[in-house]
Amino acid sequence: MLDVLQNLGRVTLGFFQRLGRGHLFLLQIFATIPGVLLRPRLVLTQLYAVGVLTLLIILVSGLFVGMVMGLQGYNTLVDFGAEDSLGVMVALSLVRELGPVVAALLFAGRAGSALTAEIGLMKATEQLSGMEMMAVDPIQRVVAPRFLAAFISLPLLAVIFSAIGVYGGYFVGVDLLGVDDGAFWAQMQDKVDLRGDVYNGVIKSVVFGFVAGWIALFEGYDAVPTAAGVSRATTRTVVHTSLAVLGLDFVLTALMFGE
């Protein structure tokens, strides 16, 4: 019984310790950002690694998600004779939810895990220590540029996902299933609100980018510097980012669309 309590206490303390370390880590990143902005090339290189290399999976997934939405939506709406509303359905689901959320989940799997593994291995091979001893702050040179890159990339990726998804839905709905072209766009434009839907979707993805970058980098920086430690950290990145994104999505949705 005492053992259980002891363990419980240790786990709880460990949790709070990590939580605290994570936030201190974030503050350290913030402190170095002005210095990073003076050297945009560092961010540029990371934008390539984090954003451009994730683009392909986002484009393909966006297209297919849009196409599936078109197909499923049509089958449901046609029963009510409301297939003209297909455009609204596809666009609203993508812009409000699927774009930001699915892009963030894919981002965690493609870019977040890579970030964690990279930082974790740099730690395991003493590269971070080496930088410190060269009087170079690894948070500024290694972590902060990657954080900024994630923060900038994810909103862009989410918008691209939504846009290509709408075209995927258009392709299936209009080209294959024969929904009226004009009705598809007109209904969509009628019901999708720039501020209420598009902007809120972008705000979501900005928050997700922040969280995904933070978790991935913290897990890497805090990883146990061994092969097993880095692999555990990588798994944790994907799991924690996914949970955080889905949880935050609910909170943000409630705040934005709950009225």
Binding site: T45, Y48, L55, L157, V192
Partner: protein
């Protein structure tokens, strides 16, 4: 990795992102059909009951959209709803005795305002009030009237 590849890649990525945002704004959302305050004028109309009419609901003439509902207020002296309509300036030739009705698109669709031009020689100007209005049909009232009239008919037999 080649610097050039990185720069071109990032450039394309950002351009694609901005293009996608632009597409969502113009093509998907209502920004493209938005009536700006610059090229529009306002009309007012009082209704006894506006039903499910909302701000941004469409305003049509003969089925053609000419504007949107800009604001909905309640006038506590006349005890009626005051709806402000924002009409595109290109449609500025409505006669003074134009009437406004609240209709429903389809059986369960959204509600919109239909304008019906009258025969007057004078045209409406910015800020004018439509005199002839017809309120929204509220489903409960219709059903209530229908039930009442059938039961009255039965008892009258």
């Amino acid at each position: 990795m080649n610097n050039r590849t990185v720069e071109i890649g990032v450039g394309l990525f950002v351009a694609l992102g901005i293009a996608a945002l632009f597409m969502l704004a113009m093509q998907v959302s209502n920004l493209g059909t938005f009536v700006s305050a610059d090229d529009s004028y306002l009309l007012e109309a009082g209704f006894e009951n506006i039903g499910g009419l909302k701000v941004r609901s469409p305003v049509t003439v003969s089925g053609v959209r000419v504007g949107r509902v800009a604001a909905i207020d309640y006038d506590d002296e006349a005890f009626e709803a005051v709806v402000t309509l924002r009409i595109k300036s290109s449609y500025d030739g409505f006669p003074e005795d134009t009437s406004a009705s609240i209709f429903t698109a389809g059986l369960l669709g959204e509600q919109y305002i239909a304008l019906e031009p009258g025969g007057s020689m004078d045209n409406l100007a910015d800020g004018d009030r439509l005199q002839l209005t017809q309120s929204a049909l509220v489903m409960e009232q219709i059903i209530g009237q229908f039930l009442y009239s059938t039961s009255a008919a039965k008892s009258g037999e």
